[in-house]
């Protein structure tokens, strides 16, 4: 089969939610990225067949956000665009969707990416008050209106937080953090392990600033355009083990180990990449950043969704005909330290492999020195719809720097899925 190339990619800096990007909607972050990608690759916008974007919380005012991004970045009206959601893997799904579209000949050149502005996820009116308001609009007499208003109870005025709703599993009812607690408790992952992992994530991200600049387009921000963000603002320079230790468990206050400090950040950001066949890329004079070797998505118990990588990675490796030891560098989204640690442990577990994957041996050891070498969700941040794309981009850039042949990007997915992509150069 022909190889699908990722020609180049770019992303905004990742900004902690409600900081410098709080007034920039997700569609604008996305459009900014696509515009910059077009500029850097020198691609004529008219050659783009399709724009595919992942986004978890699509803004109300930008439904099919990919189309909004496509038009606002100057891609002609006659071109296509659609939005995908596989929750936290939406930015991965957009790239693998591009693969499918190109392999099947539906598209030739695709810009795939992800965008999320978690700052802009709205508060909602509750169901009861919404009903009252709708009926008020239809009410004809003053008496009827009065009756409707009189029936309103103060508790109904409490807003529903879109962000909290979005991070709660709609089937098992657990918050994402609580699913991490489930894993930590079942596997006996200690608070110390999680905090150590979080600290290392920050240290690595801080150390990688210069490297990460290669994949970032600086963004001039502010109402008066008086600030510029050149780097991710999540990584903390002076984070201490003590500071992490001081934090209270957030999801299980009585007996929990998952804190805000060892969980991913709530983040705004976007990322996109140019995808086409290897042959096409070379004919156009591009030197691709890398290629998609294989990918896989797997389903699992929603209350243990953090183990997604433990399921998806072996599936993707199998399709690639590779073993975990062949992989030079791996990125896992780091929704929670417990989630990554649990996945790593399960990959190394023969029992897990036998019971869940139908394999006779463990998938393999994931060397900590080859995992999330530039930090990840805990430090860099996790704008849910964008992260999948960011992982692919970061892995490919790191493979290039290190001269590696194979890399791996994987995520756990809210709702109980895992996604993984094997990349090669």
């Amino acid at each position: 089969m022909e190889r699908i190339a990722i020609v180049d990619g770019i992303r905004t800096p990742f900004a902690k939610a409600w900081t410098v990007f709080e007034d920039i909607p997700a569609q604008k972050l996305g459009a900014l990225c696509v515009r910059e990608l077009l500029e850097r690759t020198g691609l004529a916008p008219g050659l783009v067949d399709e724009v595919i974007f992942g986004c978890v919380a699509q803004p109300m005012e930008a439904s099919n956000i990919a189309r909004v991004i496509s038009l606002n970045s100057g891609i002609p009206e006659r071109k296509r665009a659609y939005t995908v959601s596989r929750n936290c893997a939406s930015g991965l799904e957009s790239v693998t969707s591009a693969w499918e579209k190109i392999i099947t000949g539906m598209d030739e050149i695709v810009i795939a990416g992800g965008t999320e502005s978690m700052s802009n996820i709205p508060f909602f009116f509750g169901k009861e008050i919404t009903k009252t308001l709708t009926r008020l609009g239809k009410a004809k007499t003053a008496w009827e209106k009065l009756r409707l208003i009189a029936a309103v109870r103060p508790a109904q005025l409490k807003p529903v937080l879109g962000l909290v709703e979005g991070l709660t599993d709609p089937v098992c009812g657990l918050n994402m953090g609580s699913t991490a607690e489930v894993l930590a408790k079942e596997l006996g992952i200690t608070r110390q392990e999680q905090d150590d992992f979080a600290l290392r994530s920050h240290q690595r991200a801080v150390a990688a600033r210069a490297k990460l600049k290669e994949e970032i387009v600086p963004v001039i921000t502010g109402r008066k355009f008086d600030a510029v963000l050149e780097d991710d603002n999540g990584p903390r320079e002076n984070l201490t083990p003590e500071a992490l230790a001081k934090m209270k468990p957030y999801f299980d206050r009585a007996a929990g180990t998952v804190t805000v400090g060892n969980s991913c950040q709530v983040t705004d950001g976007a990322c996109c990449m140019l995808v086409m066949k290897e042959e096409k890329a070379k004919a156009m004079g591009y030197e691709p950043l890398g290629y998609i070797r294989s990918y896989a998505y797997e389903g699992l118990d929603p209350s243990r969704m953090g183990l997604g990588p433990a399921y998806a990675i072996p599936a993707a490796l199998k399709k690639a005909g590779l073993a975990l030891k062949d992989i030079g560098v791996t990125e896992i989204n780091e929704a929670f330290a417990a989630q990554v640690l649990a996945s790593v442990r399960m990959l190394a577990s023969k029992k897990f492999a036998e019971e869940n994957l139908g394999l006779s041996a463990a998938v393999g050891e994931l060397d900590p020195d080859k995992l999330n070498v530039n930090g990840s969700g805990i430090s860099v941040g996790h704008p849910v719809g964008a992260t999948g794309s960011r992982l692919i981009l970061t892995v490919l850039k790191e493979m290039k720097r290190r001269g590696l042949q194979y890399g791996l990007a994987s995520l756990c997915v809210g709702g109980g899925q895992g996604g993984a992509v094997v990349l090669e150069r």
């Binding site: 515009r35 077009l38 500029e39 850097r40 916008p45 038009l71 606002n72 001039i220 510029v228």
Partner: protein, 696 residues
């Protein structure tokens, strides 16, 4: 074949305007004759209703034929022309059946007055529908019943606003103001007009409700209210015209004297008002400027066989205020603009500039927030040349420094494709010097925008001896796409506009040196009609920038352009003008006062009392003298290019018809005599009349 086509079908008469051989419908003597006959025919045949439409795309009737108007020799002729039109429209208004105008596009001046003489007006919903009475912008007033019928239809205050400011409105606004009765999509307008007439005949039309506020009723219906409204209107007009334009005042006078009276008496006063205005020099000049504008909008600077290249993306090298302004303008036409500078501060400035313009457009409801966000998003800032390779055009707008510009152009040649056209937005350096080190000089040209870029309608396009016809055609087509008037000039320092303007500004500074009070100098220029005084303009431009340009021109043209010592001294004193709140004036809290410190900086050896008239001649004749040299050297071939360039590039008063028109009106011989006298009086060879002037 005539311009009018009258058909009566099922007892509904449809009169369609379609002027042969023209893109638009206008009303000349022949068309008016046909119209008169058609109305007579309708009156005789008595159909149930009359519908008036146009077969032109996007044009109902663009107005009276201005060429015919230009030929009028005296008041009597003008009055006759007005009276004849009024009589035809009176006949139309007197038809007993329902009359309906279907406005599918431009409906201006006499065209709108025709629609006003109908009983009903319908309009299309599209953006090509433009309704208004722009007569005052040609120095006249609506003379075919506009001053009478519009107030009756739309109310006095709305009519005053539309007539006195020449404001053009959309169909939607016209509906809101009660000027049109219903809107239809253009595709359904012609059929809709007939249906509408049938509805009227069937008596199914709901009665019009006049929605007026109490205040409006007071202003329009009570004598003290009206008095207040008229005095306010007069004040506003004077504020805007500064007394140079008699037409709006005359229109106001006519409306004031006739409102509430009989229409016949009103029409008489209206045509007398028009007649008085038609022969004024102001009107003559404004009409000339109208035609200048028409001419230069499409002037064929390049052979028609040379096709401009498409510019799908424009890169701007050098951000800041000019770069930001250019990027904004480019993006406003939905073309991506890649803006490069060497630091974020400049890029921030560029985005701020562009954003400010879009915010203003939002505030003025010229566009909605979605359009603004889309256009703003097409501007992408960068510190590298990435994205330049596939730009069709690069406009360089870095600091006015030959060395830096040369370096930038070398970089541009390396970082663009061989098809990319490289244009400099230099204001004074020559393109040949800037591009000296560029290997392929055929793709170099100048593209000189004026500040503020979005507001100033002129672009000087500079053609060097190497500029290829294709490059030139592309740059011209692109400037026009950006909505600009193009004047192509030779590649000599200062090109046309700045070369003429700098002596004027310099002269003002010399006058200060000689002891003339700053505010008096500015007042003299403003009394002449300049939009701002020369000293104010220097502050506006920035003294550092101005001095730099002046210095470049001094180097190029020698003694006659020697920069006033005061300019240099002011720059060295750090008084950089409005941007730093301190220059020749001190700026604060919305007002400005003369900076007294200026007078002590440099003083001329001899101080003297200079009369206003002498000061004005020194400044204006200085410009004319330099314009003569430009014509002599063929910087432009055509004196009309000087006129349009100075009006569009510097705001030279349009009612004077342009700089060279003013010189002709004054008499070139008189100017030569005065210049010679100035040379003698002030011992200044710079006043020596140039050969071009002396020969004439």
């Amino acid at each position: 074949m005539g311009a009018l086509n009258l058909k009566i079908e099922n007892e509904i008469a449809v009169l369609a305007f379609d002027l042969p051989g023209s893109r638009v419908n206008t009303l000349d003597a022949a068309v008016m004759g046909e119209l008169s006959a058609a109305i007579d025919e309708v009156a005789a045949k008595k159909p149930k209703a009359l519908v008036i439409t146009s077969l032109k795309d996007g044009v109902f009737i663009a107005g009276a034929d201005i060429k015919g108007f230009e030929r009028i020799k005296n008041e009597a002729e003008a009055e006759t022309l007005a009276r004849e039109g009024q009589e035809i429209y009176n006949k139309l208004a007197a038809l007993e059946m329902p009359t309906v105008a279907g406005i599918n596009g431009a409906c201006l001046g006499g065209g709108f007055e025709l629609a006003l003489a109908c009983k009903y007006r319908l309009a299309g919903t599209g953006s090509k529908v433009k309704i208004g009475l722009p007569e005052v912008s040609l120095g006249i007033l609506p003379g075919w019943g506009g001053t009478q019928r519009l107030p009756r239809l739309a109310g006095l205050s709305r009519a005053l606003e539309l007539i006195l400011t020449a404001r053009i409105i959309s169909g939607k606004d016209a509906l809101k103001y009660g000027i049109v009765d219903r809107l239809y999509p253009e595709t359904l307008l012609a059929a809709g007009a007939v249906d509408f007439a049938l509805e009227v005949l069937a008596g199914r039309l709901p009665a019009k409700k006049k929605k007026r506020s109490l205040l409006q009723a007071f202003l329009e219906d009570t004598p003290p209210g009206r008095a207040l409204m008229f005095s306010q209107a007069a004040k506003k007009v004077l504020e805007k015209t500064k007394g140079f334009y008699p037409a709006p005042l005359k229109a106001l006078e006519v409306i004031k004297a006739t409102c509430g009276g009989e229409i016949a008496a009103g029409l008489e006063l209206e045509r007398k008002g028009l007649a008085a205005l038609a022969v004024t020099e102001v009107s003559r000049n404004l009409v000339k400027v109208f035609f200048l504008n028409e001419k230069f909008k499409k002037f064929p600077w390049v052979d028609g066989s040379v096709k401009p290249l498409p510019v799908d993306k424009c890169a701007v090298a050098g951000a800041g205020i000019m770069g930001g302004g250019i990027a904004q303008l480019v993006s406003s036409r939905d073309i991506p603009a890649r803006v490069k500078d060497i630091n974020y501060e400049a890029l921030k400035q560029a985005l701020r500039t562009a954003d400010g313009i879009y915010r203003y457009a939002l505030k003025k409801r010229k566009m909605n927030k979605y359009q603004a966000a889309h256009k703003m998003g097409l501007i992408s800032p960068t510190l590298t040349y990435s994205g330049f390779k596939n730009a069709g055009l690069v406009i360089e707008a870095v600091v006015e420094d030959l060395g830096i510009k040369q370096k930038v152009f070398q970089e541009l040649e390396e970082n663009t494709s061989q098809h990319t056209i490289l244009a400099s937005n230099t204001s004074s350096l020559t393109i040949s010097a800037i591009g000296e080190k560029v290997r392929d000089k055929s793709r170099l040209a100048g593209m000189h925008f004026f500040n503020p870029v979005n507001r100033m309608p002129l672009v000087e396009v500079i053609k060097t001896e190497h500029t290829s016809p294709e490059t030139l055609a592309t740059v011209i087509a692109f400037a026009r796409k950006l909505g600009k008037i193009v004047v192509v000039t030779k590649d000599s320092p200062g090109f046309l506009v700045n070369r003429i303007l700098v002596p004027y500004l310099n002269e003002a500074a010399l006058l200060v040196e000689e002891g003339m009070p700053i505010e008096r100098i500015d007042a003299v220029a403003k009394a002449f009609g300049m939009p701002m005084g020369p000293i104010e303009l220097i502050d506006e431009v920035g003294i550092d920038v101005g001095a730099k340009v002046a210095k470049i021109l001094e180097k190029a043209y020698g003694d006659r352009m020697r920069v006033s010592g005061l300019l240099e001294a002011t720059k060295h004193a750090g008084l950089l003008g409005k941007k730093k709140n301190k220059g020749f004036y001190i700026y604060g809290d919305g007002e400005k006062k003369v900076n007294p410190g200026i007078y002590g900086l440099v003083q001329a050896a001899v101080k003297r009392e200079i009369p206003d008239e002498t000061a004005l001649k020194r400044m204006i004749y200085g410009m004319i003298n330099e314009a003569g040299r430009c014509l002599e050297e063929k910087v432009v071939d055509d004196a009309q290019a000087v006129d349009i360039a100075m009006i569009m590039g510097t705001g030279f008063p349009p009612f004077r018809g342009g700089l060279w028109q003013y010189a002709e009106d004054t008499g070139l011989a008189n100017i030569v005599i005065d210049l010679a006298a100035l040379e003698k009086e002030f011992g200044a060879p710079r006043f020596s009349p140039c050969a071009y002037l002396s020969r004439r």
